[in-house]
Symmetry: C2
Subunit: 292 residues, 2 copies
Amino acid sequence: MNAKDWQYFQKLSELKNFSDTARHFGVSQPTITYSLKRLEDEYGVQLVERKSYANSLRLTYAGNQLLKHVNRIIREDYLAKSDLKRLKDKKIRIGLPPIITNYLLPNVFDQLKENNFLDEMEQVVDGSKELLAELKNGRLDISLLGTTRLPEDAELEYKIIKVHHFNLIASKKRNFGDSIDLSDLLKEEFILTDNNSVHRQVFKRFTDKYNVLPNVIFETSDYNLLLNLVKADKGISFIAETASSLEEGIQEVKVNNLELPPFYILLVYRTNTLKTPIFSKIIDIFSDGCKD
Amino acid sequence: MNAKDWQYFQKLSELKNFSDTARHFGVSQPTITYSLKRLEDEYGVQLVERKSYANSLRLTYAGNQLLKHVNRIIREDYLAKSDLKRLKDKKIRIGLPPIITNYLLPNVFDQLKENNFLDEMEQVVDGSKELLAELKNGRLDISLLGTTRLPEDAELEYKIIKVHHFNLIASKKRNFGDSIDLSDLLKEEFILTDNNSVHRQVFKRFTDKYNVLPNVIFETSDYNLLLNLVKADKGISFIAETASSLEEGIQEVKVNNLELPPFYILLVYRTNTLKTPIFSKIIDIFSDGCKD
DNA sequence: TATAATTGATAAATAAAATTTATAAGTGAG
DNA sequence: CTCACTTATAAATTTTATTTATCAATTATA
């Protein structure tokens, strides 16, 4: 049996039409008919209901069951191809969320350079959520990630690089004393990251939990702009210490009785990804270089 | 490319010998050589290192990476075949751990009979651990399961049928008063299930937690024997209420300040298993029939 | 309602791919 | 050095996949 038969079957299930499927692959229509027949022989069961000659083709239960497995098989083969392609090119595609990267990269830069890894790493800069999706789809080999929840996914492994905390931050120009109450905090004007970021989601969970409604006057996806606005005392903000710890002109605002989740900085990769020496070395460099 | 090439490659990786691999599949030796060449073409990368002509064949990094994906592909195809086979035979292979089955089956027997499901269910009686392994390997469609921890596995889904508790049990002939202290309990002689059972594992965790060493005088895998021995006051035991609640002549022994985990009775099945009407109906029968 | 257009199935022919046979050439043990 | 064993290759053969041509069933539409 040919591996193509699975591809044909998957497309046929989608298009529900033999001729269109044939056209899609640039083959003749009987090819699809015979291919399906091969599959039905191979699995010993009818996969498609031919009620009427034209129109409205339907998968049998067995066909639907097979489709689920076929989807996985095709996905796995696709992952194999993209993994091998990058292995061949000696490229490691690494996902880099901006805030975390700015924080970590100075610590590991020399090490990466010494090992000649700088050319071998193909960088993809995006948000943590997007990077995680790219990683699962096989378009990344490994990714840095900032998250409050450790991945629970049998397909993924991770290494905790650092555990940070979320902070409320304000300009150094301000004076809040040792700490303030939540009610005082709510009198302030907030400048926040936009809705997609982890920071914002944690902020939302925290406002929900304490049932408060802060005054958000500005949102941005550019966290440097955010920090500069806070420095200039245009408002206060909420962000992981990852972003703010290296900055001058910013202070942490301590709020009484405020509980926030930890912010994990991880390296994430697929379980199935082969740990070549280069791959392992990169993981080592990040985890060693970022120890306290 | 032929699906067989993956099989050949998997076996070649295992046997590390072209001729033996050929013999294993009953084909000629060049078949394996050409098959490998096809794979190397398909994926555009060398998979096997031919250091010397005879002996000691080694996979390249790319070969190792491919092998991981190939293992999944072959497993998935195997799952497809066994799923479809049972769909065709209209058989649902269901795993039944004895204790749970004895407890539940009377409640659902009539319903199963009315729907003519009794013949369609192929029963596999074994311990919860073994059944879970069989389920993952595709040799079962669905299984009843007794466990203290809910499965965390993306490949599996489950439905909680009932939540039971673990009890210390003794013969009705004995009189313990309202409740007793742990120290008094330890003076007793224990008759327990053998090491493989959930009950025994929970018992072990509980003795570890409270750092005590009970006097176990007899072990058995036959829980009816165990209950009969307890009835006859040959010793006391530890088991989920599932086993003992229907029995006469047995009492629960309440121990002060003793915390035990819940005992979940689940129906577990693979995420990829198609939920045919029969399949869904069986799940419904079990969950409806076992409501309090 | 007749007719044209479209659909999927089938047979036979053809093309493509997998496999075998036969053989060569490299390697290691004795 | 020779023998036994390995993998690679070329050519022949077998098997499998695909195409072409065509038919019968079904829809669309005029």
